[in-house]
Subunit: 402 residues, 4 copies
């Protein structure tokens, strides 16, 4: 046993194939659509891109093998997802976009055989999309999940769910929803949540407006969703009643890391565009790429890319060992979200006026990566959690020493 | 004689009136248009907003009194322009948007009486808009103006101008252009440029596509402009032949500072939106605005606002004294562009998911202020100029000491 | 009335004289002592340096004219104190070092005629030094003054004071102490403090060890001080009983700003040393000062110097108008302390190995300026106060709007 | 084959033993000496500490087994060296301080059997110390090694070396020197250097003054060294003539990384001291460690520690695979040097006044870690190298695409 940072040969090959597929078949389509996937046109495009990914042998790297996937663990997903993220449309093409990718992960862990057949299989195969209905407008569940207000109460034949969600990614056009609702306790208590599965056409489930966010590449948008006396059967309960917050953890850690993988690919693209630009362009009697202040931006990007990857490697390894890895994923997510933002921002700066024009993809990338410092837990919330653990450990150490 | 930082009473009153006008009459219109002014619909809107500004007694604070303006110097413009910038449409309403505001400033300094009557007066009164045609695609004049390639050659009855410009703000719908063209020397030489005045309908002057930049609030957009054997008379020469780069300096210093004033207003709006948000919203058992990490963002915004204003005060005072103020304006511009970006970015972060949604104006503000770190000289070019002066001064001091 | 940033001619001349005096007479002495003033050798040195300052006509720029000073207000102190701060020994030479300078300021405002004659006059004339005994070890008064635990109780013929202070600057060798003690209320309450004057040789007043801090240039060090049943007469009360916290504010705002002035001078010296170094030295086929990454450090230093000065100008102007200026001084102090640290740090970096060696004064400057981010209120405490004001203002604005 | 980040059990045990040894036997000694090892008292102390380390079974983790070491590769050194670095005296105790550790590494790779016996063996066993004489005062070899001016010329029976070195770590008291001298070419050319071995008592080898640097924990100091017609035999040539720069690379990559390991341990100690402080101390009605701005500093430290370790892991793995790893070591060194500085600086800030006083070890740590941003290649030089590689790669990619 010794430190080893190399991926198996088949993973390296899959990453290489993904790289070629993205460059040859996906980037041109993204440019043509200026990085926007709308709910309507998006569905058609999604089917086409996924067919191409299947043909290229790169479809569903994360999904269980029995459902047509490659069955990769977290560590091995990293290089493949990063290559997919190089295009904003890449994750959709490989069926590894949020929230479907995280939902596949969670359903594979928690769903019962019938639920797997009915929901997981078509999702893994790209036949439907899904949504994860968790976040609510204030004063409900936002950065602080314990504020959950959506309620499910026992009813004849199952449960009745009432509540208002928003920022529900992919809701418009999703085939089914995973719904987080409070089955006991009061908002503010860290327990009492349950997850439910509901087809999109269930009476009482209504998708509202698209929230007009700065990012535009998520198929199905970020929507408001209303549950108005939505009746679901007993069999809709995912896992056990009142364990929803525990299951959310199963989803959250890995989902954070796959977000990092994808956005790191996007950041690398921005960096590549900028370095290519300054390697050609001249000014002030020099190649731009040979000017010290430009070199500093390039080097800082390289450092940020390397550090993001290194922290990701650590967190994925912990997850693959079955550890909760809460600290490692919080650290990697926080660093990555800020680093990715910086990388794209420096790349913009290196390209001058072109950096803020649609002639290059940098403005598009900038608008896509900014929310990552907020989505999946704002940096401030992760820092709070990291610090709390450190202070608790220091108190324990002191008590032990006394 | 002693340090005094107070503005005359009439300036303070004008700033107050502007503040009220913007809040009551302009912000609602901006929100309704989501911060976008298009060239076409924009013209109608501009006329309406400017009429309202005239009624409110806040129109053209910078323009000479004989043309209906308030005749304010640079120092006194600061508080008024900052209030106007609080709305993205405010500068247009007051007729102090780029590039018209800078063109008024320059024409008042350089134009001859006939040119003033024909071009300056209608511009100051808001009857036409204008454009300043300087920047060119690579390898032409960009961050480094000496790379100027557009040429004007002597011709029967005047000059013939040929060249290709881009990022020409306000070009679509402008009534006339101030054109920077090389009348002697070669690209790379720091001299030999001349400024010309040309009505927009001159044969050989063609406005091309709008460059699709991240900012959307500039009326007339940022366009490509082509001069194809454009013939202008002798009387079109602004000031003297071959002194264009000198005149550009007359325009650049003040124009940088009025940009700072306006964008500072925009940043302050973002900050106000965020502080109002965290003053109401609760989470983690506390008012958000009482959490330490949020307090840190608020305080850093306050510091950035104060420092921007303080550096602006210094630079404007130097300009009002008739100094070239190159160093002071470079320092103020560089600090301000980065501070304004940070302020809006922190404000976004404080508002969480809403910060990246159109429900609040922060995403809009973010997309508007980002280019200011590039427009009007990228931060890197200003830093280079600042450092060169410091190193030269050190060498001189050493020689003197020897 | 209009913005004016120029100092009166006599102030500019005093600043110039100070500049020459520091360079010619003080810097050589500082270098010789490697920036260390010990309590013992320091007293002799202080007397010599102050005699030289008197001869040069630059002694006591801040002190009332009737006591031999120049009587400058806060705004006019700025350029003079900055020149004095260029040498770590400069403030001692001019008799404007902490805490004497702040004590002169406060006594001039609060002391009664007899107290002025007995304490202020010899202090202003440089015949004695003084100390301000406020801060206490945990859990007493530190960043949070309301935690004050030192007590003064009524006694036959005056007050009996008991308590333990530390980080008392200049205590070793001081002629008298201004003591902050609680005369009513309990630790944690924001009131109930009184200031007392006590000669250093009062029985029950004991100066303990020098705390071995990273900064070494303060004459009399930072010491522990013990009050063991120290008896002071009624006439020792400075101002009124129970108003000590109010008086501390009178001292604190200006004292923060004069700290900024002095340390800004020190930072400018570091910058000058570095720019002179890179203007001469060559490497990588270029003058170091022409390399982009070095230019960036130089420019950032210039920006930090300019912004510090500009924020200082604002705060001093408010203070001179008689405003409490709490927000302006908190902003200026916080920005300055961090900027000064950055300036010295970048200057160190520019000088490479020499930057961390005693061959240049940079390591010395670095060790002196670091504590300023902590002394006089840590940056975090100032940020907290700034944010609290902003949030309160937002709440008020909202209430008014409703 | 799959990603694995776990160390072999025996390495984990060695790290644990080292941790206990440092805490129990070395930290108390460091505190007693206030972190200073002088050349004189240092030798006696070194012998004692190394004897204790041998008894604890933690001596020479890096040295070849045949010389009494543990024979660890780079990856496995990381956790052990980090534990050793937790005390400033730890590396000396384990015989892994610079420059001896790097010299052992290099001699093991390049020395011939006789040289190994004579120089490597006693060095590995801790019987002598050594120095690596490379850097020279301007205009000689500094950040840019190709500027090497020290010359070695063929002479009867060997080579005659003349030159002036400085910042030679450990020179005072070293048993022998590895000398870098130019055997062909001119200063500025990237070739023509040769390494020589010379006992410290060789005639013509003279150790000059200690350079008074901010760091004080290196035994033997940083000295000036003079070669005045130093005659060495043919057998003194290390490796081959004219290949000195190549060999320097063999030493430099690993030496950079072991520096990172050691300083990371020091930074972690600073962090631990600060977290322990804020976990106990109260202020502003709260435990300091529960205040948001303090939590932010703690979290940022945790992130910096994790990222440094993760980048180190990557670089060490590449080195263990026999790759030159120039980019990975430059990235890890640059990030680490700046992160370590930030960690200690934030830790200082968290402790307030105590952070800058000798009552806690933070001021000591701050003065030790600052030079690491300069030693072993300033951050600017590493960034320049990183950027050059990125721009070259972009140019190659473009050529390939054409």
């Amino acid at each position: 046993m010794a430190i080893d940072l190399s991926h198996p040969a088949e993973v390296r090959e899959l990453a290489e194939r993904t790289r070629a597929f993205i460059r040859e078949q996906v980037l041109p389509v993204e440019d043509q659509h200026d990085g926007n996937i709308t709910a309507a046109g998006g569905e058609k495009l999604r089917v086409e891109l996924q067919a191409a990914a299947r043909d290229a042998g790169v479809f569903a790297p994360h999904a269980p093998v029995e459902y047509g996937g490659h069955g990769l663990g977290m560590s091995d997903r990293a290089p493949v997802f990063e290559e997919a993220g190089y295009s904003l449309f890449g994750p959709t093409a490989l069926n590894i976009a949020a929230p479907d990718e995280g939902n596949v992960h969670m359903l594979a862990h928690i769903a019962d055989p019938e639920q797997k057949q009915r929901f997981l299989e078509p999702l893994a195969r790209g036949e439907v999309r899904s949504a994860f209905a968790m976040t609510e407008p204030a004063p409900g569940a936002g950065s602080d999940p314990s504020a959950l207000t959506t309620r499910a109460v026992c009813a004849e034949g199952g449960w009745r769910i009432s509540g208002h969600k928003w920022f529900i990614t992919g809701a418009d056009g999703a085939g089914f929803f995973i719904i987080m609702a409070r089955t006991s306790g009061e908002p503010g208590e860290r327990g009492g949540a349950t997850m439910f599965l509901a087809p999109a056409d269930s009476p009482g489930l209504r998708v509202g407006r698209h929230i007009d966010t700065t990012d535009k590449s998520m198929i199905g948008g970020h929507c408001e969703v209303f549950f108005e006396d939505l009746l679901v059967p007993e069999s809709a309960v995912l896992g056990e009643v009142d364990r929803g917050f525990d299951y959310a953890q199963v989803r959250l850690g890995p989902a954070r890391m796959t977000h990092v993988m994808r956005w790191l690919g996007a950041a690398r693209r921005g960096h590549d565009v900028a370095v290519t630009h300054v390697a050609q362009r001249r000014g002030f009697g020099s190649r731009l790429g040979d000017l010290g202040m430009v070199q500093q931006m390039i080097a800082d990007n390289e450092i940020d890319i390397a550090a993001t990857r290194a922290l990701l490697t650590r967190a994925c390894w912990e997850l693959d060992r079955g550890e909760p890895a809460s600290n490692a994923t919080s650290i990697a997510k926080t660093y990555a979200a800020e680093a990715i933002f910086r990388i794209v921002d420096r790349s913009t700066q290196m390209c001058g006026g072109l950096g803020v024009a649609a002639d290059l993809p940098l403005a598009r990338l900038a608008r896509e990566v900014r929310p990552f410092r907020i989505y999946d837990g704002p940096s401030e919330v992760h820092r709070w959690a990291i610090a709390k653990r450190a202070v608790s450990a220091a108190k324990r150490a002191q008590r032990d020493a006394e």
